[in-house]
């Protein structure tokens, strides 16, 4: 049982559908998608043109699903896709693509390029051409439950720390709670503030919630590497946990792709609609705000701006909530250029941070975010995704820009009225 080109082509034959056929027949080689991709705009290298990243998939589509293409193949006039070529394309399909989806929003003929990259990765992965970093992360997630090897033991340690700090007990495996809270490994490891913020906010809002010992991990590297079968295994843990604990709503934490994996791909991965609701933490907070259950006091006075994680805003549809929330606690909130739906990627999403060799390119791509920040000169940068935070901090550090990065949930929690703390 091992990866092979033959399996790769077979999986792509399953993946290719009418949209992909329509897209490949519509592309007029106008190059506008490159103008929207930070890997091209910051490097100027035409090989990073988004539609070019799909060249092997285009040929497989042409040779398998068009009459003329099949004819040409029979007559030996077509250029078959080789294993070596897929190897060459790994750098284009993974290292230089964070699945941010900006190209899909600018293509004048409407090609959804990121839709195709996501499907092309299915063939790349099973033909053995996924980057080692993500393969290892997926292996660990499938075998140990977390891409970074976080075990329940570590989660309990962090829970105890938060309990001491906030004086609120952290519910675990409580049935019938309104919310089942998920955490991403990055938050468990690097940002304990998130869990303490959740604890305090839920107490303040008077909402019942719980963690789930068998499904605490929100991230899903299966959708980043591009193996739906493994992504299904990973997301099923959350579904079983939520249905076992009869939670009404599952909260996807401050993470980008976790939201896409659970909210949008989840039902399609397991093949049926969810019996529970899925919301990103920002959607929950915004809902509490509008229901008057989340009241904050005091304001941040320094100049804040917000970085929209791609998987949350452009690819997830959560765009306005973060604005409403920031305006609750900030007097000097300014939008960076291209904010919201058209915001630029931090360069680390889609599994790119897990790919060691991709680091140099990532730093290069970060210049786009740098130019946005230079345009708006904030004192602090707020975002809502753990990987965005570390990527932003590493980038800012690299370019000696002294702008602290902080999570939105954390800031909201800091402005809860004191009696709760």
């Amino acid at each position: 049982m091992s990866a092979s080109l033959e399996k790769g082509v077979r999986v792509l034959k399953e993946m290719i559908d009418a949209p992909i056929a329509s897209y490949f027949n519509s592309c007029v080689h106008c190059g506008l998608c490159a103008e929207a991709c930070l890997f091209y705009t910051e490097t100027g290298d035409p090989k990073y043109t988004p539609i070019h990243k799909l060249e092997p998939l285009r040929r497989i589509y042409e040779q398998e699903y068009t009459l003329l293409g099949r004819l040409k193949k029979v007559l030996g006039l077509s250029k078959p896709v080789t294993d070596a070529e897929l190897g060459e394309w790994q750098e284009l399909v993974y290292n230089s693509c964070t699945l941010c989806g900006r190209c899909s929003l600018v293509c004048p003929v409407g090609n959804d390029i990121v839709y195709m990259v996501r499907k092309f990765r299915e063939g790349m992965a099973i033909s053995g051409h996924a980057p080692e970093g993500i393969v290892e992360a997926t292996r660990r997630t499938v075998s140990t439950g977390s891409p970074m090897g976080v075990t329940m033991h570590a989660v309990k340690a962090q829970m105890k720390h938060v309990e001491e700090e906030t004086g609120i007990s952290i519910p675990l495996d409580v049935e019938g709670a309104e919310y089942m809270v998920l955490l991403s490994s990055m938050e468990i490891i690097n940002f304990p503030e998130y869990l303490s913020a959740i604890a305090r906010i839920m107490k303040h809002a008077g909402k019942t919630w719980t963690l789930c010992s068998t499904g605490f991990e929100a991230t899903n590297s299966g959708i980043q590497i591009g193996v739906s079968d493994l992504a299904k295994t990973i997301v099923s843990r959350i579904v079983e946990g939520a249905e076992r604990l009869k939670a009404k709503t599952v909260i996807s934490p401050e993470c980008g792709h976790a939201y896409t994996a659970l909210r949008w791909e989840g039902p399609n991965l397991i093949g049926r609609p969810f019996t529970f609701k899925v919301q990103h933490i920002l959607e929950v907070l915004d809902e509490l705000r509008s229901q008057g259950l989340l009241k904050t006091e005091g304001f941040e006075t320094d100049r804040l701006t917000f970085h929209d994680p791609c998987q949350l805003a452009r690819r997830g549809g959560v765009i306005q909530p973060q604005r409403n929330l920031i305006n609750m606690v900030a007097q000097n909130f300014v939008e960076m250029p291209d904010a919201g739906k058209m915001n630029w990627c931090c360069g680390g999403g889609g599994g790119v941070t897990a790919i060691e060799p991709a680091e140099a390119l990532r730093i290069e791509a970060f210049k786009k975010k740098k130019s946005q920040l230079e345009a708006v000169k904030p004192d602090r940068l707020v975002t809502a995704c753990a990987v965005c935070r570390t990527t932003l901090e590493e980038g800012l550090e690299h370019y000696q820009m002294n702008i602290p990065v902080v999570g939105l949930t954390e800031i909201i929690a800091e402005h809860l009225p004191e009696q709760g703390a």
Binding site: M1, K13, E64, T66
Partner: protein, 367 residues
């Protein structure tokens, strides 16, 4: 009846000055220098003295006598008619008094007498179907008559679109296998004077040129005198400004038609037809088709009968959707066929799908 032409003209009330003016206008129309006009006048005036009037043999084949009609307009004695007095029209079935054997005899005598010098005018297309049996005179097929007459001819004039390009008889389906004169006679200079019928002055112009200079006028690719067929009707049409402004008559009696707008949309073939109607006009300059409100038919162009309809605008194709039905059905069939093939291929790929495991992410001969 014989004697110098100038005398016979005088008897008919045509004085010398009118005759000179006519020759000058004829010369100018044929784009000849003014001096040629005077030379033409002397040559023609003196031509009929003595016995050397040029012999002309007129052979009618598959024709409708329209060309003869056009040339011998006799509602008033025209100069053209007089010109024919000056030539010895030795054979013209319709005009000559003789008939039957006498006519045949006159023809052969003329050919023998003026061998190599006579001018042969062909009227009508030549039937080649059934070895020419479709059209015979006195037991001889037009085909053989043409070949025989052509040997002794100094030059041949294919008069009218039938003789020049095959005309109506050669329009689809061309049952008689009608062809143009120039398709049969390759070794003799052939002047095509197309038109259905051609304009009278064009014929006399060519004749006068031949009589005066003993040679044929400059011809275009299709063997037509450039003097008369050098430009298209459209180039010289008085309605051209309307074309340029996009003002087109939509029907024959709409407001545009009454205002004399361009007849392009009513099928006028002016832009693709080379002839002199727009300048010389018909019936002594009275009018011409477009001036009378009807589009040009393109009668001086080959195969104008099969040009896709006289009333269809030039940009109008004849029947482009002819194959549409068959094409749509075949297209849909091809599409459906490939869709079933694709569906089967996709289903096969799906069924061959074994759930991917972690081991599948690495090649067996692991790096």
């Amino acid at each position: 009846m014989h004697g110098p032409l100038i005398d016979s003209l005088a008897r008919q009330g045509v004085n010398r000055r009118t005759f000179l003016k006519y020759c000058a206008s004829l010369a100018s129309m044929m784009a000849l220098p003014p001096a040629a006009g005077r030379a033409m006048a002397e040559a023609m005036a003196a031509a009929s003295t003595g016995g050397q009037r040029p012999s002309v043999i007129w052979l009618p084949f598959q024709e409708c006598t329209g060309c003869t009609e056009s040339i011998t307009r006799s509602h008033s004695p025209t100069i053209e008619g007089m010109i024919f007095d000056m030539v010895s029209l030795d054979y013209h079935e319709t005009l000559m008094a003789a008939a039957g054997h006498q006519a045949e005899e006159a023809l052969h005598n003329a050919m023998k007498a003026n061998a190599g010098k006579y001018l042969l005018i062909i009227d009508g297309s030549v039937a080649t179907g059934l070895d020419g049996a479709y059209s015979c005179i006195a037991g001889q097929t037009n085909l053989d008559a043409l070949k025989e007459a052509a040997q002794g001819a100094a030059a041949i004039i294919a008069l009218g679109s039938c003789a020049a390009f095959g005309g109506l008889p050669n329009a689809k389906p061309n049952p008689t296998g009608a062809v143009a004169v120039s398709d049969i006679i390759k070794d003799k200079p052939v002047v095509n004077i197309p038109g259905c019928p051609p304009i009278p002055v064009v014929i006399t112009g060519v004749l006068a040129h031949f009589l005066t200079f003993g040679s044929l006028p400059e011809l275009d690719k299709l063997g037509r005198p450039k003097a008369f067929y050098g430009e298209t009707i459209h180039d010289r049409c008085y309605r051209r400004p309307f074309y340029d402004q996009g003002k087109f008559a939509k029907t024959f009696d709409d407001e545009g038609a009454r205002k004399g707008w361009c007849l392009f949309e009513l099928g006028c073939k002016g832009p693709v037809t080379y002839n002199a109607c727009a300048t010389v006009k018909w019936n002594d300059g009275t009018s011409w088709p477009v001036q009378s409100g009807h589009g040009c038919l393109g009668c001086s162009e080959p195969d104008f009968w099969d040009g896709g309809g006289f009333y269809k605008a030039l940009s109008m194709p004849a029947n482009p959707l002819k194959m549409a039905g068959a094409a749509t059905v075949t297209g849909a069939a091809a599409g459906v066929a490939i869709s079933f093939a694709n569906r089967a291929k996709k289903a096969a790929a799906k069924s061959a799908h074994e759930t991917t495991t972690l081991a599948d992410l690495e090649k067996s001969e692991e790096r």
